[in-house]
Symmetry: D2
Subunit: 422 residues, 4 copies
């Protein structure tokens, strides 16, 4: 399918695809077959190969060692890395590193960029985004935020309890969402504080066990539960303007939602590739694989919906490069998340017992993709945003007409008789 | 929502929208409220108004009186006309006129263009496309075509039985699909023959009663059942190359499928407008309309899927302007048809009893849109096309891996022991 | 499928089935083929035949001429009559006659039974249930009821505006829901008043045009819009206890919802029969009917869901014969309505163009069944009822555990620090 | 909800429920909270407690120590044990032990019953059912069976490769499906051979890693991959009649499918309980939990579908106690499996991040339930069975009518003209 991406976007994506096909997918297959994990040293080697091919951190400015791609142009590359369980990690296009780099680049000070952004882009550091708290459930309600950072002289004193901090176990520092002005509504009184992991009082409680994949990377630290107990950092560690934490997080999340869409679209495409390969070959053995026709028709629907998602995400990326694109991103997120879930379910069904066994990546995809309908805002929250927008511009002339037959004709006459309390 | 349509496309669509809002929708509402139909004279008046606004037959070349828009540029205008039950008719952007004009413009002779295309573009003639036959069910299987046209001197002698010929009751002439070379496979031996209605042997059996709307137009001739009994027309009445009937029909249908998507997207948008207006206002009366929240969330989903459809149709229109775009069109058709059906169902649910009463256009939309999943190829046929394409480029390296765990490890050892007949 | 119905139930149902197969279905087919309607005289003949076979009004006590079946026992007979567009009418098992007879039998005075119930059971009178009002939309919110009946001496003076009164055009009398005590909440101050059609002030405004079937019966009066203008009837015309209108209506509707489920299950079964017949035969012509396999699998799902509905409705009927069975009925209604809608949609898809043409009953089924998700309470209202019940008996020990991980561990420590206003 | 189960069924189920609430669920919660697993000794203690309460192996005859319940009567007890991840194990009502006991009881010799069945019922032995082979994918196609058992004197020599043998790692013996007559079709030439694990040549390759739960039991051996290399056992180890392996397996699977439905219904009920508890309590914290209304409506639908499944499974159990009930079981299996999958998906959505974390059992339920649409025959195979049955008794009079409008009227006239090869 030709998607009219820019020449630059296609050129980079072509090289990413080659890296996936030649290096990453074969490695992933080997790990799944053997049950081994990739050590940190092996990951560093992968990164070297990606850098040699000029593929590392493609969404970052060239001055930091990235490829300088905007959302529209990074899109096909991010689809490519999504095809493998270790694809995004292999070129550091994975969440949360990618979003944290984006944040530091947008609002960080020059010092923060030198001390933290550059090493992130180089793969010399790892970071966590410490936002979700146990009280918030899935983190969808910012008003529930309870972590605080209180100024004491030149220092912030951070106290709080977080979980689902991705890559948290291996992180060198955290971007912590904390209330810094308790007299303000959380939307207005929250800031992002950079906390190095080695600071006193940072307590890594555990990695939250969860549905999903066998971990292929030694480094992939799962989702940490962390307590911040009277943690002191200099006030210079404020990331972006004080009190603007939610606005910055929203910017971060807008892009993050869309890059998730890109990666998961690639994952869905891979699952379809494997399913089609399996169905095609089984056919060769004389088995009709129990109602192949039905599965083929369902694959056609899956391809169609994935195509629609990819069109919609491209539309949103073009918008996001020039505006906030809140509705476009919300639509893309909720649609892509649901389509990718459907596709993984279909892939499992096509593959039978192989679909739930860890020998192929599909079982891991299936467990992994479920959370996509929850994190970065569950479906219901995005639908609420979309509905609110949809109901803003109600066609008033339609109202008159729509109600004409149950009201206009009778309201006047009945109004007088209606009981006063009704 | 901003769709990045061209300036020209937006300019024309803006004027079409104004025509709908100022003239067509008020007229539609009046007809629904009174139960009246629009006479042919009143339709002619509508056409005059559309011509004065330079909106008539927007998809036709300017030399014939149209606006010269290609698929990408006619798109937002066609969405606009779809909003009303009489919108497409009001500017002659309705099927089958629109597709027939497109066909004559593409492959007609100069004489045919003067004698038939120009009057069609001017609204002075009406035409039918006589393809579907009773034996074919929904017309999906061209191999079942039984109508024949046999050369006898300078004349074709046409015999056959057709139904579902839209606008057939009022048509001045028909484009008839007929087998002209019985020794060839129907794909290769079929031609399109232009048959004036007044020719001897043309027998209009009946209008097929069907699910759907109250007819708002006197002229809208429903879907005719027609017999062609030894009908003789000159061989010059062949439309396009002899024996290429299916290829021409495919070209015609490709565009027709996409313009249907555009119009039905507009219809779905209108249904959502009415639903939102109704829900908004009911709220004002203190009623929570039984689980409004749920309906709002479903409307958010409807808006999202319609948005995805509109992105996908735009992508396909851009492709169709420069290629056959077979898969893009098939995906757009099957997806848009299903989304529009879902949306009409939702609109009926939002409107309650008003959703099934003829006072509002939604009941008519609901009946009308159902056929969209059948005509121009039912869902199953498009999915077959899409699946065939999807299975063309199966990733061979995935095959090896996908089967590795149920075959490679054991095939060799077991093969020897397997019973010979297995 | 064997459903363990009682011997009596099976015996009657067997005779109803024979009547349908021998008399009613052939007549229905003839009407559809010719476009004719059944005159009132012809309907009377049908009724004579049903009476001769001891099938008329099977749910009524034998003393009135019925068969004395309770809900569990009438069930398979009602499924049978649902198979035809005119089946329920042919033995007077149709709504609203059936529910009105049930109401009069339950709460009518001896005089009302003699004057109105007996002629209803004999087919000598027809009745309407005048409940829904334009302000209520689909009639789901009883608090919106605006029709009043004010006592003036020995008479009720009824004023109000109703619509969707089924069979209203042909009714000899109406059971009118009206507020009789304006100081009470509508639930407590509403009564049912019997109003003969010929009473002065009864104004039949129109039949509401609506989505659906070609009418096969001259007598089937559609759904009337009626105004009651200072209509005076004796206070003896109160049906059941004064002020208990809603309680009586609920009893009536509980049974009515379940008999609707029975009839529509039969309709769905017929649609599947036609679809299977069509698919089977088309196969014989060498056509694979575009992805027959897929349609077969979808038919398997349709059969499965219909089977589940029939099991659930049977369970509810057994309960309703001995209790209010509110949740069982609500579940049966919302489930059956949705399954029957799905099945009609599938049948249309199986039949292609024949599915939307009026030559077969399926197009009429499709239009007709849509309203089943709206009348007698839309889906959303039943789901609310079910949810309210489901949340009544929440497992408290699960609460503790469910919240343990986002609250117990942290609530204590954080509570102290949480800002006072949170 | 009252399900009209027999008094005996209700009495036992009540005691099972108490055991779950008092002993099993608290233990499960403790394991999830601590991440510990239950050792074999602890499991033995659980069994003692279950035996003391007369709950162990309730489906087995009393002479072996069971409760002697038939399918209809064991049903509510099996629903109860399904509520916990360790419930079925705690009273030995888990697959495959339960099905293997059923098999030995049905067709085993007296010696086999004494040597293997009695210890199974006592919990002194564990068994595996070794049927699925890698070549079969999900095991749905018995014709692909490749394992052989060849007679050599008084011994069977078994060779083959199996996987997905549940509890295989801990099993003391296996029931192995093997082709014993290579000249026969597998349906007729297959037998079940009992192979003690310690026999020479039995090679346990690995436990197949798969999607799903954290394992709570030390003993739960996952799904083993096993090779049988020239394994020799006495011919007396044939279980049931030689050559009747498939027939016996079908009997075993029929019951097994239904007991799976019972257990998974209980699991779904538990997931709903947790979801409702969570939503209820969150409400107390002032959060509206993002569109609670929508989730409540979806829970209402979930409760409704689960109710329908439970009605359908009860119907099937009554049938299975007196017939093969092939279609009833197939419908129950495919319906329940899909409903339970839907419900787990909903539960995860209700619980947000807690839905995918291992702290609650829901994440494990979600992974576990996915396989239910694959094992014991994937959806597609059951739908094929149902469809085959549905198309057996096509209504011939409907065929005539259904085709009347596209064929009868025209076939005769057109047949003559149709090209010979068409």
């Amino acid at each position: 399918m030709e998607y009219h991406d820019s020449e630059k976007a296609q050129e980079v994506a072509g090289r990413v695809e080659a890296f996936m096909d030649e290096v990453v997918l074969p490695l992933e297959r080997e790990m799944l077959a053997t049950g081994d994990t990739i050590s940190n040293d092996e990951l560093a080697e992968l990164w070297e190969m990606a850098k040699e091919r000029d593929l590392f951190a493609p969404q970052m400015p060239e001055e930091y060692g990235g490829q300088g791609l905007d959302f529209a142009d990074m899109l096909p590359s991010f689809e490519q890395v999504g095809r493998s369980l270790i694809g995004a990690h292999s070129i550091r296009a994975n969440a949360p590193q990618e979003g944290n780099m984006h944040t530091l680049e947008m609002v960080g000070t020059e010092e923060q960029k030198e001390e933290y952004l550059r090493p992130l882009v180089q793969g010399e550091m790892t970071s966590g985004f410490s936002m979700t708290e146990p009280m918030q459930g899935g983190g969808s309600d910012p008003k529930m935020l309870q972590t605080t950072a209180i100024k004491d002289g030149d220092e912030w004193v951070v106290n709080g309890h977080k979980w689902w901090t991705s890559d948290g176990w291996d992180a060198d520092f955290f971007l912590v969402m904390a209330r810094t002005d308790l007299d303000e509504h959380p939307y207005a009184g929250t800031s992002i504080i950079l906390v190095p992991r080695e600071t006193e009082g940072v307590e890594l409680v555990r990695n939250v066990g969860h549905l999903g994949a066998p971990e292929l990377l030694e480094a992939s630290g799962g989702h940490a539960e962390i307590k911040y107990n009277d943690v002191r950092v200099p006030v210079e560690n404020t990331v972006g303007e004080e009190g603007k934490g939610f606005q910055i997080a929203q910017m971060r999340l807008g892009g993050g939602r869309l890059t998730h869409c890109m990666r998961y679209s690639g994952m869905a495409e891979r699952a379809l590739e494997i399913s089609k390969a399996y169905l095609s070959e089984r056919e060769g053995f004389g088995s009709d694989l129990a109602e192949k026709q039905t599965l083929r028709q369902r694959i056609a629907d899956a391809e169609t919906k994935l195509h629609m998602a990819r069109c919609g995400v491209r539309h949103a990326a073009r918008e996001l490069d020039r505006s906030e694109a809140r509705i476009e991103v919300a639509m893309s997120k909720v649609y892509t998340a649901n389509v990718c879930n459907e596709i993984m379910d279909l892939a499992v069904q096509c593959l039978g017992a192989n679909g739930v066994a860890n020998d192929l990546p599909v079982a891991a995809f299936y467990g992994d993709v479920r959370a996509f309908r929850l994190f970065d805002g569950p479906d219901e929250v995005h639908r609420r945003t979309i509905a609110r927008h949809a109901f803003e511009d109600v066609a008033t002339e339609e109202i008159e007409h729509a109600l004409r037959f149950d009201e206009d004709r009778i309201v006047d006459e009945l109004k007088r008789e209606a009981p006063a309390d009704d």
